[in-house]
């Protein structure tokens, strides 16, 4: 989960503990049962009856499978891709046979055609595995592209040149502050230019944000005020890198720079049970004379969150009368020791 590496077999297998993956499995299986019912029924009136009959057998199999796969997830991901596929198919066979057997006992009805049901179970399993394989292949180039985009869109050239300018201004009068600023810049660019496909601890991202904001504060002085609420943040939570930093860059660009008055950017990170919440707020003026560029960053971040967490992560942006708020929710996945 933590690593999405193109050549490893593990990436072709979905993360069975992800809510999005589970939903996809259940939705696809249900859709297939509907298709089967349509094929089997001669007219609309018998359709529902047919479907109930099919779903009564198929749904328990699907639900048991989802539960079992999510339990076996870490173990499956350690296997070679081929052995994992064979294991899953065998497991499905067993589940199907068991459900058919117990189903027959409970419903007290004879199972008509076991061979056919087993054939369908294997076919559907292989179809789903193939689907996730293709989906992962389709998404992994997007991931490397996201990295490229990260480089291109992340840092505004405007920020880079203004920061260099600010550091230059310090060299004569305050060489020590200039040193710190250059170190911050080096760290920032090290992360920007790194391979950012892997998840990293939240702690690192927050540190990066601090360095970034220190540079901004250098140029903006008292105009930029930062309100940190991160005492209760789960430091070990994993997240894609460069999610908060570009959002803070937006906050400074749209919320602080257009005004001569001091403004507050607030960062609030906490977790509720197994979800991590990150809330960023900045002042916002509707008549502000710069716009654009913002949507691109949000789209890019949303995409990367979806690549890593599927449906379990969300990003919401809200524009108030005088405030702009971005709220990110991700599942609390701990870094391994």
């Amino acid at each position: 989960m933590a690593s999405i590496n193109q050549n490893s077999a593990a990436t072709l297998l979905p993360n069975f503990r992800n809510l999005g993956v589970m939903l996809r499995v259940l939705v696809i299986v249900t859709a297939l049962t509907v298709c089967a019912a349509v094929l089997k029924s001669s007219n609309w009136s018998t359709l529902l009856q047919q479907w109930v009959g099919i779903a009564a057998v198929v749904q328990p199999i699907a639900i048991f499978s989802v539960v079992l796969l999510s339990l076996a997830n870490p173990w499956l991901h350690k296997l070679e891709y081929r052995s994992a596929v064979v294991t899953i198919v065998l497991a499905e066979l067993v589940i199907t046979l068991l459900v058919l057997r117990f189903g027959a006992l409970i419903l007290e009805a004879a199972v008509e055609n076991t061979a056919r049901d087993v054939f369908f179970a294997v076919a559907i399993t292989l179809t789903l595995i193939g689907y996730f394989n293709l989906r992962n292949r389709a998404l992994s180039p997007a991931l490397s592209e996201a990295r490229l985009q990260a480089l291109q869109a992340r840092i505004r050239p405007h920020f880079l040149f203004n920061s260099i300018n600010a550091v230059l201004s310090l060299i004569r009068a305050e060489p020590r502050r200039a040193e710190t600023a250059l170190e911050d810049m080096a760290d920032l660019f090290r992360v920007l230019m790194a391979d950012n496909r892997d998840l990293a601890p939240l702690e690192n991202e927050v540190e990066l944000c601090r360095q970034y904001l220190a540079l901004e504060q250098l140029r903006l002085g008292a105009r930029l005020q930062i309100d940190w609420h991160v005492d209760k943040m789960p430091k070990d939570a994993l997240m894609p890198p460069l999610v908060l930093q570009p959002l803070l860059e937006n906050a400074v660009y749209h919320g602080i720079e257009p005004s001569i008055e001091p403004g507050v950017v607030s960062v609030n990170i906490y977790h509720v049970r197994d979800q991590v919440h990150m809330v960023l707020r900045n002042p916002y003026r509707k008549d502000g004379n710069h716009h654009a560029g913002n949507k691109m960053a949000l789209g890019n971040i949303r995409e990367r969150l979806a690549l890593h967490f599927d449906a379990e992560a969300s990003l919401q942006a809200r524009v108030g009368d005088s405030e702009y708020e971005v709220h990110i929710t991700i599942p609390y996945v701990k870094a391994e020791e």
Binding site: H158, N162, N165, P258, I260
Partner: protein, 257 residues
């Protein structure tokens, strides 16, 4: 930077304090080859205009991106001064403006500024023909936020959002706000172009602010004729709508909530 009778008087306008101090350092370096006097610093376009109202300057080093009036707008007001200073724009990164500057030979320096470049620009500043207003207007992408008038040697700003109507007189345009009237030396058709979003023409010689229209009234004239007049928020005056522009009355009705 000693006081010298023929020193080049320079003003720095930039919203970032470190950027200003950097230019200050560089000016000091330049001062070794010709006399320079730093006469003031400003943190926004507004501050700059206030400063130049009472302090004459030869050269303004003007940052483009600033809060409270950007450099491009501030320059447009500066050029209306009787003796406008030479303007050298400075910017860290601004693709669009720079292309336009290249095209129209407007002087600019990219930040971080090199000593050599600043030196050359300042040496040139006195000799080259000053920036022309019409070129600057073409370069500036956004309409101004203010109009400016000179009163007793000072630059007075009128917020465009305060303006109720603009009316062409012989040589001037009357600018009417809720409080008073000003005369500006501009052309009504240029103003109409620039502020086409905010203003609408009701008459050959009159533009009114869309946001301040509170209603229209039918006025009966002698001989049984009648005409539409427009009522503006905060003014008693009613302005006639010409026959050709009567469609705006309908459009206004349609846009009501």
């Amino acid at each position: 930077m000693t006081k010298h009778p023929h020193a080049l008087k320079v003003v720095i306008a930039d919203d970032e304090a470190p950027a200003r101090s950097r230019v200050r350092d560089l000016l000091e370096d330049c001062a070794s080859s010709f006399p320079i006097e730093l006469v003031g610093e400003a943190g926004s376009g507004r501050e700059l205009l206030a400063l130049l109202g009472n302090t004459p300057a030869d050269v303004v080093l003007l940052d483009i991106r600033m809060p409270e009036m950007d450099g491009l707008e501030a320059a447009q007001h500066l050029l209306r001064l009787p003796e406008p200073p030479s303007i050298i724009f400075t910017t860290a990164y601004d693709d669009h403006a720079l292309k336009a500057f290249e095209l129209h030979a407007v002087d600019y320096l990219v930040k971080p500024i090199r000593l050599r470049r600043l030196h050359d620009a300042l040496t040139r500043a006195r000799s080259i023909t000053p920036l022309r207003l019409d070129i600057l207007q073409r370069v500036a992408p956004e309409p101004r936020t203010h109009l400016s008038v000179q009163e007793r040697g000072k630059i007075m700003l009128i917020a465009v959002t305060d303006i109720r109507y603009l009316r062409a007189e012989l040589k001037y345009v009357t600018v009417r706000t809720a409080a008073r009237e000003h005369l500006v030396e501009e052309s009504l058709s240029r103003l109409e172009q620039e502020f086409s979003e905010q203003f609408v023409r009701i008459h050959r010689s009159c533009l009114v602010a869309k946001a301040h229209i509170i209603g229209f009234e039918r006025d009966v004239l002698e001989a049984g004729e009648s005409r539409w007049t427009v009522m503006l928020n905060g003014l008693d005056e009613k302005l006639p709508v010409s026959r050709r522009q009567q469609h705006i009355v309908k459009e206004f009705g349609r846009n009501l909530p």
